[in-house]
């Protein structure tokens, strides 16, 4: 004999099985496609990221360039200054 709780659950599942499938709104396709088309345009965040990378690249180039320049000046202090006159002159 079936217990009452099993019977109740059977009834609940029968109710769930009776839920009808519905047709979505016809506008849904248009909405989905318009969101897709918006996505195809490059998102602003990517533009920002590329701009940041570009600025980072320019600043690193600037840093490297000026660092080299000061290095060259450091090396120059080790080179003895000669007056270009020959000893036997």
């Amino acid at each position: 004999m079936e217990s009452s709780s099993n019977k109740d659950m059977k009834q609940v599942f029968e109710q769930l099985a009776n839920i009808k499938a519905v047709e979505p709104n016809a506008k849904l396709q248009t909405l989905t496609l318009s969101r897709l088309n918006k996505k195809k345009i490059i998102p602003l965040n990517w533009v920002r990221a590329v701009a940041c990378l570009f600025i980072l690249f320019i600043s690193s180039e600037y840093y490297v360039f000026y660092n080299n320049k000061s290095n060259r000046q450091d090396v120059a202090s080790y080179v003895s200054i000669t007056n270009n006159t020959l000893y036997n002159e």
Binding site: L16, T32, L36
Partner: protein, 171 residues
């Protein structure tokens, strides 16, 4: 298969599945859009280990569960900012129960059942929805949920038991 053909063949299935999770048209429409955006993004990487339908089912389930989680987080953040609640467990309650597949005079009875279903864990909820509302076979459901049939069976038994407890507690 073009994207339009995929949309045409599966949009009704995605929308109805989302409806079972969120029980209102607006949210189900939003989930449907998100699902097809994901399908479009990942169509190239879709490996034909599963059928297209199974793959879309999985995306729809994950998207619906993520949507519910996001809504719960929003709700938790809002409430905790007011009442300083942290550990409270929030369960999804649709803002307006508006399931178009249910007749108006039976709305109240169904609302109680869905309130109980919403209390279940993600996997248990999915098992009930696929087996009992979407009328999928055990084999299909197991494939969609990436489980073996035996594991699905025990998951369903636990879901049934918990559902019964939640329904009794609701009176």
């Amino acid at each position: 298969m073009t994207f339009d053909e995929i949309y045409f063949d599966h949009h009704k299935m995605v929308f109805n599945l989302a409806l079972q999770y969120v029980q209102n048209i607006e949210d189900a429409e939003e989930i449907t859009q998100d699902v097809f955006l994901k399908v479009f993004d990942n169509l190239d990487s879709f490996k034909k280990q599963a059928s297209l339908k199974t793959w879309i089912y999985r995306i729809s389930i994950n998207q619906s569960l993520d949507f519910i989680k996001a809504k719960n987080t929003q709700k938790r953040n809002f409430l905790s900012s007011i009442f300083s609640l942290n550990d409270e467990k929030f369960k999804f309650e649709p803002p307006n129960f508006n399931h178009p597949g249910i007749e108006l005079e039976q709305k109240e009875a169904y609302q109680k059942i869905f309130e109980a279903i919403n209390q279940l864990s993600d996997n248990q909820k999915t098992a009930i929805i696929l087996l009992k509302i979407e009328d999928k076979s055990q084999f299909e459901t197991a494939e969609i949920m990436n489980l073996n049939v035996k594991a699905l069976e025990s998951l369903f038994q636990r879901a049934k038991k918990n559902l019964e407890i939640f329904l009794i507690s609701k009176g």
